[in-house]
Amino acid sequence: MTRAESTAAGGVAAGSVSLRRPRPRYGEAVIRGALFAAALLSVATTVGIVVALIVPTVEFFAEVSVLDFLTGTEWAPLFARPKFGVLPLLVGTLVVTVVALIVAIPLGLGAATFLSEYATDRVRRVLKPVLEVLAGIPTVVYGFFALTFVTPLLQDIWLFGDPPEGFNALSAGIVMGIMIVPTVASLSEDAMSAVPADLKAGGYALGSSKRQVATRVTFPAALSGIVAAIVLAISRAVGETMIVLVAAGGTPNLSADPREAMQTMTAFIGAAGIGDQPVGSIGYKTIFAVGSLLFVITLVMNAVSIRLVRKFREVYE
């Protein structure tokens, strides 16, 4: 109270000359500075990630040529006669990601369309949080599920050719797809809900059915947001570690057959980390080189996704 009074008194003293406060408040400036520092920590984190990655990566490429790394077809960095071709890891990541997307895109978009266009408010309030639970389950539990349930199930019901191996990219990818359904669904639903009601009303006025409005009006109008959701989902899939580490096996394998065991970039990093590489050894540096590649890939995806989201927000909100 005294503080407020003194401020008021100060204001009176300043009279009509100026409405500005009569004396600077140093305490406020200090607090503001501290808050700014906390916000700046996020930038420091990014800088930290880049620094942590770049130094060992540069050292790595002093020993291994960039061309060999990016085009080599054999990955055996921890062997006595090491091979540093990252292609098997990239292809492994790609195979698992594609399987995950084949699962997540239709399920996610189906769920989003239902929640945004068909569900009543009450249904949506119940279904949405339950769907979100899928994103909150620890990934190591998903890995367990893939290894001990999905893989045996696939082996049992497999009809054509050889069934999947005990460790395989397929079950890891399917379970990862389930995990990212909420990612696809919630962002897509946001985008669909942001489509103005008069656009949809226009569709109905022309005699369209609900499905026609959903697929021919809402979907195209929300497309940038939907693409953003999918790009973000890809980035999630590429960066996911524990599912592949548990269920996809630990052997680098340059193959497009999802029934085989494969190693992804993340699984390699995890496996190498478990192996406790001596600091400064080539094995230790390899973690950072693969990490840099992973970071760059996901960074590009995230940037694309953020840009697309901003686009649909600008158009409709």
């Binding site: 607090i31 984190t45 990630i49 990655l53 189906g110 339950v130 899928l134 946001d190 369209s208 990490g291």
Partner: protein, 305 residues
């Protein structure tokens, strides 16, 4: 986000449109029905997977779901193994993560919402940067922790290193949630406080923050529940070591529950698979409890303006 507002506004219109559409219900084609069934099926498959997962964990882990699980230390003999050091490790690591994350995250959110001039390039940079960090894979944070916190700073593979790494990992999520909670406080509250002569900080501290506590708490709990299930970054920080004692301080080696599960899954014996499932149930129960608290806080204390 803005979803709730938008849906709130447009819903009457949609309902109206629906009733118009119903006038033509006679023409509903087989395609419409198939489309509807397809949508329900996608939700159905997702929920079936969720139910199957929970059921599998319960059934598989049932034989070992008793107090022994959390009162025994890991052992190479399955019958004697438990997850005591892992449960306590998780509590230590996530406890300190909370201690670091809450003040830092709220401070950053207050700055961005209440003080930052959005026109300045550095404020826009911070904002974009936080969005980006939120989507960086968790294993990359593990690399950051390994390279800078464990090695360069020389902390070693200890509780503090794990807590700091997880803090950096969940900070973006906390900041984003806290910003939304702060943004939801109406400007009239701020204007009223300022008009009574309060400074900007007094307004934030005595009006805005108390009003946004429920939203912030919800966001913090959800972020911490992510931290408690996280294994990938901690694998790089030496969390996989065989630990037969409870953490005793910030400088003590550790293991956490998700990593103990991973350890048991990757062993060949079936008995360990049972243990993994049982520990998975424990982890899911902890998460369920945290999420229920978050929902309770939100429904109980959140004010609608």
């Amino acid at each position: 986000m803005s979803t709730t507002q938008t849906t709130g506004v447009e819903d009457p219109a949609v309902a109206e449109a629906t009733s118009h559409a119903d006038l033509t219900a006679g023409q509903r084609s087989i395609k419409d029905v198939l489309f509807y069934v397809g949508m329900l099926a996608s939700l159905g498959i997702a929920f079936t997977a969720l139910v199957a997962l929970i059921a599998l964990m319960l059934v598989q882990g049932w034989p070992r779901l008793n107090l022994d699980l959390i009162t025994h230390f890991p052992s190479s003999i399955p019958a004697r193994a438990g997850a005591e050091s892992a449960v306590l490790g998780s509590i230590w690591v996530v406890g300190f993560t909370a201690l670091f994350t809450i003040p830092l995250g709220v401070a950053a959110a207050v700055y961005l919402e209440e003080f930052a001039d959005k026109q300045r390039w550095y404020n826009r940079l911070i904002e974009l940067n936080i969005q980006n960090l939120a989507a960086v894979p968790s294993i990359v944070y593990g690399i950051l922790g390994l390279g800078l916190i464990v090695q360069a700073a020389g902390l070693g593979q200890v509780v503090l290193a794990a807590s700091l790494t997880l803090t950096l990992l969940v900070l973006p999520t906390v900041i984003i949630a806290a910003r939304e909670a702060i943004r939801a406080v109406p400007d009239s509250i701020r204007a009223g406080s300022l008009a009574l002569g309060a400074t900007q900080w007094q307004t934030v501290w005595r009006q805005v923050l108390p009003a946004s506590v429920p939203g912030i708490a919800t966001g913090v709990i959800l972020a911490l529940s992510r931290a408690i299930g996280e294994a990938a970054p901690l694998v790089l920080l030496g969390g996989l070591t065989f630990i037969q004692f409870n953490p005793s301080g910030l400088d003590s080696p550790f293991t956490v529950l998700p990593i103990q599960i991973f350890n048991w899954v990757s062993r060949p014996q079936d008995e360990f698979e049972v243990l993994a499932a049982a520990a998975g149930v424990v982890l899911l129960v902890i998460l369920l409890a945290m999420n229920s608290i978050a929902i309770l806080v939100r429904n109980r204390f959140q004010r609608r303006w």
